[in-house]
Amino acid sequence: MMDTSIVEVINVTREVAWLPWAVQYFFLIGLSVGGVLLSLPGYAFAHEDWRKLGRIALLVALTCGLAAPVSLLSDLHQPGRFWHFYVVLRPTSWMWWGSIIIPFYVTGLLVYGWACFREELQEQGRVDSRLAALYRLAALGGGRDDRLIRYAGLVVLTGAALVALYTGTEVAVVRARPLWHTPFLPLQFLATALAGATGLVLLLNRLAADGDRDVERVANQLLAGALGAVMLFGGLWLALGLFDLERTHADALASVAGSEAWRVTAVWAVAATAVPFVIAVAKPVGTGLLTGLIAVHGAWMFRWTVFIGGQTVPKTGAGFYEYALPAGPDGLLGIVGTAGLWLFLLLAITAVLPTPRRAAPGLLYPIAAE
């Protein structure tokens, strides 16, 4: 057995080229897709039991879906040139497909959101207030229209499916990065997005709605299901790699297995999935803030690990690159800024459409269906 040791003396460190902005984008767009899916039973299928949960999910879908493209644009090093995507045909590039899919999805989401909220806009328009005329204008002289919601829901569902497909595939096709180049990655993105969206529904149920216990119970059950899927995919990913059953997964595991930091990350990820799963199953009521927070954290952490962690694995050099989060726009400021934009959108939407739903001032009777 020949004993060889190699010490790298001179090499280049390639810095992270997809910045924390990209993490924010994939996180927010994933949560938005999850929010759309969770809103469909209550709105597109008009199941009244699901209406309250669906309304919170719709807030998740809209706030995250509108903030996401901003962070994606910021991830471009030449954001002012974004229109270059739209003057060429580049069907070999999943990112180019993304540039077509994102406006389709966001437009569909806005129409769907409007169709779902039209009933509330109409109600606000009946209130004796200076803004009533604006509400009536926004409602376009109509109210709840289940057919319209269903059609808009179909469009936004198509958009959401395309977003899930393209965001996952865009990363999974990068053969040069073994950690990304696995067939499981798009499924893992989707499952963690569903868990994150359900987690945010649980948080907003407390913080931006009336803290309904039925919503909390159902959302915790859904969260347990999503986290179960995360664990299933994660377990299969690990098994395929560990037992060398499938080449790409074995390569993916091998690319990080030697690192202590990555092992700690793996343990953390398992805990961030298993702990909220156990809590959500054992005590689905009264725990929503905790399980929701951990689930949102888990969805974000998965993307941070895949993108920032994945880029610290050198393609040719030895070991791992160091990464330190910069304080400026390429780092912390980008993360905080995106979060701020999301918060602003939440405040704006819930200011226009008061949440929890309540009788508008001047109305003598509570709003219908409450």
Binding site: M2, D3, T4, S5, I6, V7, E8, V9, I10, N11, V12, T13, R14, E15, A17, W18, D75, L76, H77, Q78, P79, R81, F82, H84, F85, V88, R90, T92, S93, W94, M95, W96, G98, S99, E170, V173, V174, R175, A176, R177, W180, S255, Q311, P314, K315, T316, G317, A318, G319, F320, Y321, E322
Partner: protein, 250 residues
């Protein structure tokens, strides 16, 4: 004889006969090529046995191409290798491989990066949006974001020099004659002969990229991601010291 610097002339041997050992690019890749002279296919052979690790190529490239600080289009990766108690130094000049099937091109969402008819992969930095998808897709870590132009940047084989009948700056400056540049479509060129006769290796052949930068004397341990101790850019010297001590005891 140092064919790399003395006998290079752009006008010679514009033969269209492909080198026998080189398989052609997929049809769609060829179809997408634009600009450049299809009579040539530029390539490089690096004889790592002749490389002394002086980094003259690294510096020449930076000066020639105005590469920003802390960025490199080419660099000589240098390793200390200890085998059976004996230590030596291994040098591996790295640059864009100007692959026959470059994975950086299909991912580009704007068409800013493309391959010329002569095989050189370039970036139009007036079109590039700096999305860095190509940076991710390159298996050789050959691309980076240039923070002065905020676009993708990479080795161009010094296309501006080649078009003027000159050698790439790194080849021109190479002290040991380790870098040999030429036309792979010219069966009499030095690079064609070396590729034909010396069976040079390429980096990461399993990626299917068909690099057109070949290496003579490429140790398989350095063909892919190097399994070793990273020492550069570490904030603390401790890991290096530990690894060194461990190695000496081994």
């Amino acid at each position: 004889m140092d064919q790399s610097r003395r006998n290079f002339c752009l006008g010679f041997g514009a033969a269209t006969v492909g080198a026998a050992t080189l398989s052609p690019a997929p049809a769609e890749a060829v179809a997408a090529r634009e600009g450049g002279d299809p009579a040539h296919r530029w390539g490089m052979v690096v004889d790592v046995r002749k490389c002394v690790g002086c980094q003259a190529c690294t510096v020449a490239c930076i000066m020639e191409n105005d590469v920003p600080e802390n960025s490199f289009r080419t660099i000589v990766s240098t390793y200390e290798v200890t085998e059976q108690g004996r230590s030596g130094t291994y040098m591996l000049p790295r640059l864009c491989n100007h692959c026959e099937d470059p994975p950086c091109i299909p991912v580009c969402p704007t068409g800013a990066t493309f391959q010329r008819e002569d095989g050189i992969v370039v970036v139009d930095n007036t079109v590039c949006v700096g999305c860095a998808y190509c940076v991710q897709a390159c298996p050789y870590d050959a691309r980076f974001i240039n923070h002065e132009t905020q676009t993708a940047d990479k080795c161009t084989f010094c296309v501006h020099r080649v078009e003027a009948g000159l050698l790439p700056a790194c080849v021109e400056t190479c002290v040991g004659g380790a870098r040999i540049f030429g036309d792979l479509k010219d069966p009499d060129s030095t690079v064609s002969k070396l590729v034909r006769e010396r069976d040079p290796k390429v980096l990461k052949p399993e990626q299917g990229t068909q690099p057109r930068v070949f290496y003579i004397g490429l140790d398989p341990k350095f063909q892919g991601k190097v399994d070793g101790t990273p020492t550069l850019w570490r904030p603390s010297p401790q890991p290096h010291a530990d690894a060194y001590a461990g190695k000496e005891n081994a």
